[in-house]
Symmetry: C2
Subunit: 333 residues, 2 copies
């Protein structure tokens, strides 16, 4: 079974997005937001059939780990109450997608994070996502400020209460920032990649996985800059007197392969990507398309390209079956 | 002639660093800083002979573009007056290195940047560096806040007066942040790489090089995450309706090869690096060691490794002779 580990609901029905605009306007005006609209199953089906389901079929994948649109989480907008309402509506919408296509979608939730608000306040929504909605993980935003990087590093103890809950519920998190409100950072071109890279370096700096041996993270977008600078990170681990990466950080961290292989990748490029994947370890790579998150998303040929990687059949099978860490729980159900 | 495009004076004599500590203490106490110490030529020679000159010889390179220690620029410390005094002393010290070893060192200056202070205020020091000290460029810090990314993007018009002066003086800048005062960012593991990547994306977003066809930047540390995500950047340029990278940004931007080739790189890795360099274009790659900037610096074998790259002799010669953009002025003298 081929599971896409990184899919977002980027095509939610218009009334859902309209409500968000109304919610933001109400916050600005100091008013109560309007009631969330009623969405029909057909409305939801239509947005999925034309997009995610079509792409999935074209790629020959079977299921998608499906979470709310990352760039729209926008934890920097409004306050905690705004984020809480927005997170609940988004997660409920994902749950409806899962219920409509239970053989295709596996839910992952967004959190009601807000700048300066303790991460403890996101625990209730994580519990609701896992225990009530049947989700298998969450997207954890390391920078709810939207590009000002004002939150403590992910190895800071202030994050620990949330990690304890993740371990207790046995669910992983994808480290994923949202939209940027800092003009310095283009969201997908600078902010995402910088945040991915920065998270990885934080994991090297601390002993987070000594404290939480069961804690599991996915670093998306091919691992940011990390695979390219693998020698730098090995050297920094050594310089900081930390264990080698493969015996430390890489026991708890997975990279996705989103936007790494292109439909038009040359044989030469495929060789290099395959070699890099081997260096990281095929067990640490998850197939993820980041599908329909941008015009960069590519159909059929994209997944075909991934399969064209000059890896051994055994290695491809390992990658294709890398359902951990998301699916550990799911497989039990 | 082999010129290392990225070298810092990381081993300045102790009295220089002691003065900096005294300067910071005086600023905190609201007092006048002590007089800058007198440094003998022998003191300076000793720090260079044992370090940069030894490494240069071992690597078989001929000259080094030499600038003040990047992590110690610390523009976020103190105020504009503090940065101004510190920049002048650092640049004067680089000038002394150049005078002691004129066949080896080529000076590049740091700027008296300070958070919130207009970049115009750095023009005088750039002029002094070029016209009085004979330097061939500067290190431009895109984030003088030290990790809060509070300055406008490099394509913002507020930077333009400085760019006008760069063009007038016909000197390039290396985009180089300094130390991080944000615990989120490990300086060399997260901050440098994020800033490099972010600068490149900013260049894609605007039409800076349409406004300044002669403006030249070096993005260090192998170009941050950019070469790894080359497909992403090509796609983003397309999505933002910008010209293709090779007809736009890459006409004005160079990457260095610092910390890309390791002494223990395998033939397989060398193949990949060579292919990546070809993709960017050998003319856009400058040999840079980032020498002695950290314990990651490596001797003899490092430069030997770069020469072991499976590039054609013609390509290696192009790379070895890539003296632009720093040396355009220099060659004239």
């Amino acid at each position: 079974m081929i599971i896409d580990c990184h899919g977002h609901y980027t095509t939610a029905p218009a009334p859902h997005n309209d409500w968000r605009e109304a919610q933001k306007a109400a916050f600005k005006a100091g008013e109560v937001p309007p009631l969330y609209p009623t969405l029909s199953d057909d409305e939801i089906r239509e947005t999925l059939e034309k997009n995610q389901l079509r792409l999935l079929r074209e790629r020959g994948a079977d299921m998608t780990i499906f979470s709310p649109r990352a760039s729209a989480m926008a934890h920097h907008v409004g306050d905690e109450a705004v984020s809480t309402a927005w997170a609940r509506h988004n997660n409920d919408l994902i749950k409806r997608c899962v219920d409509l296509y239970p053989d295709v979608f596996i839910g992952v939730g967004m959190l009601p994070q807000s700048p300066g608000v303790p991460i403890e306040n996101s625990i209730a929504e994580l519990e609701r996502c896992v225990n009530e909605l049947g989700f298998v993980g969450c997207n954890l935003n390391p920078d709810p400020s939207g590009g000002h990087f004002s939150a403590p590093p992910l190895i800071d103890r202030s994050w620990y209460p949330f990690y304890e809950k993740m371990v207790e519920l046995d669910v992983p998190a994808m480290v994923h920032v949202s939209g940027s409100c800092n003009p310095v950072f283009h969201a997908t071109g600078a902010y995402y990649i910088s945040a991915d890279t920065t998270a990885f370096m934080q994991f090297i700096q601390g002993d987070l996985f000594g404290d939480f041996p069961e804690l599991r993270f996915i670093i998306p977008h091919g691992g940011g800059a990390v695979p390219y600078h693998w020698g730098r990170y090995r050297g920094l681990a050594d310089m900081l007197k930390q264990p080698p990466l493969d015996g430390h950080v890489m026991k708890n961290v997975w990279f996705d392969a989103a936007v790494v292989v292109r439909p038009n990748s040359t044989p030469d490029q495929l060789e290099r990507i395959a070699a890099r994947i081997r260096q990281i370890g095929v067990k640490r790579i998850l197939y993820g398309s980041d599908a329909a998150s941008s015009p960069l998303a590519y159909p059929k040929a994209g997944w075909a390209a991934l399969q064209r990687l000059p890896l051994t059949n055994t290695e491809l099978v390992v990658m294709a079956n890398n359902i951990a860490p998301y699916m550990r729980d799911f497989a039990v159900r």
